[in-house]
Symmetry: D2
Subunit: 135 residues, 4 copies
């Protein structure tokens, strides 16, 4: 399965050339991961962040073509690798069938207690995440 | 009539206290105005910004209570004054019935030609805007 | 005395018209208040936010003229009213002698303990703040 | 040579855990590239963007450790590969000697004329860029 969300390219995302300023894509990507945890894994960030977190440790992105104000991005996410406390996901943003960007990110599941941050096992989340392996 | 949109408070909106960082509210407000022009006035920003614009000349906001990650804001907008080329709108953001913020903003409709910026009449837009006067 | 900082208008601040997108001004204004607390009041935000905060309760802004990429804003802040636990400050952003925007904001000093937020007295900060009353 | 700039981690950069929210790093990185073009290559973005641009086509980042509010990032940039109209740069952000993140980005120099975007030769910029090859 692939997790998919749509997002309108707004005025606030665009630069002086009227196309998306690339740092804005990372907030859009973070929203996609956030929505995946909220809607598919049943673990919203406001619950998670009391005692845990999923810091991003690695991201790669290829920007293939620009997206303009008023276009609708289809954002897709799937699982590529699942470790004991890490997850590497693939992602792509498209306008219709045209690829705007694609890449790969890795997050690590950690417990946070004061200043102590430790990797922790995905536990119950693992089964829900495995559904999103791209075959 | 009142123009209303919902918006989820996301991780990216929140500060170190887990509540919305107030400058983020202005991007949310700009989205509300943008959606109003797109959906109700039939004049999307990507069309407008070739030759025109609606620069904001005045904003007042009272922040009444905090909004937290995971809460859903109901954003409302209505017209308070309509001049030849200006529009003062009222707005409020609520979580359920609780007011998070409220205020008033004024935009001016302008034509843009190179470096020349001139106020211009609302024209056909006026009739559509008048529907949103709060009685 | 007036607290003053300079800030370059960057690519990231600008919209499709190549001028500052107004919500970005509020992040710049927040930086100005943050710098005032850090540099003049000797109370940096990272110290404050363990147990206290200064939520903004009111802001008014008049936007007078646009600022363009590459221009340098001179941001000024001064005290207008000082209550037991509140502070109303005036501010202006200029490019050379031209006013870009001006306004007034009010913050309240609060203690934060779990979910309990209470106004608290400025204490030692008051003397340092009074220096910035505009005569 | 290595191009280096310092940047304070501010309230606006931080998330609910009081550490930099990773999408904010990309705005900081864009500022670093912007400063390099302005200060070292003598080609500020506000001049460039009338007729040209340097869209980012590829970015890789490894996030090594968190940065907290009030810490000062030392941002470094150097050239790794220089093509006819492309440039791959390496970058790192550190707090003192500790690496916060490191990675590699590629931009392409293009001319923009209406909707037509074409790669163009670095021309005079090449000599200035070559100075920043890391030996």
């Amino acid at each position: 399965m692939i997790f998919t969300k749509k997002q309108l390219v707004r005025f606030e995302h665009c630069d002086a050339a009227g196309i998306v300023f690339y740092p804005r894509y990372y907030a859009m990507l973070n929203s996609l991961v956030e929505d995946w945890f909220r809607e598919s894994l049943n673990f919203p960030f406001e619950t998670m962040h009391n005692t845990s977190g999923i810091p991003t440790v690695d991201i790669k992105t290829q920007f293939k073509s620009p997206a303009k104000m008023g276009q609708v991005l289809t954002k897709s996410l799937w699982v590529e690798k699942l470790g004991g406390s890490s997850c590497t996901y693939g992602y792509s943003f498209k306008v219709d069938e045209r690829i705007v960007l694609q890449g790969e990110g890795t997050v690590v599941f950690v417990s946070i207690s004061g200043n102590e941050i430790k990797p922790k096992d995905w536990g119950d989340l693992r089964d829900k995440m495995e559904v999103y392996f791209k075959k």
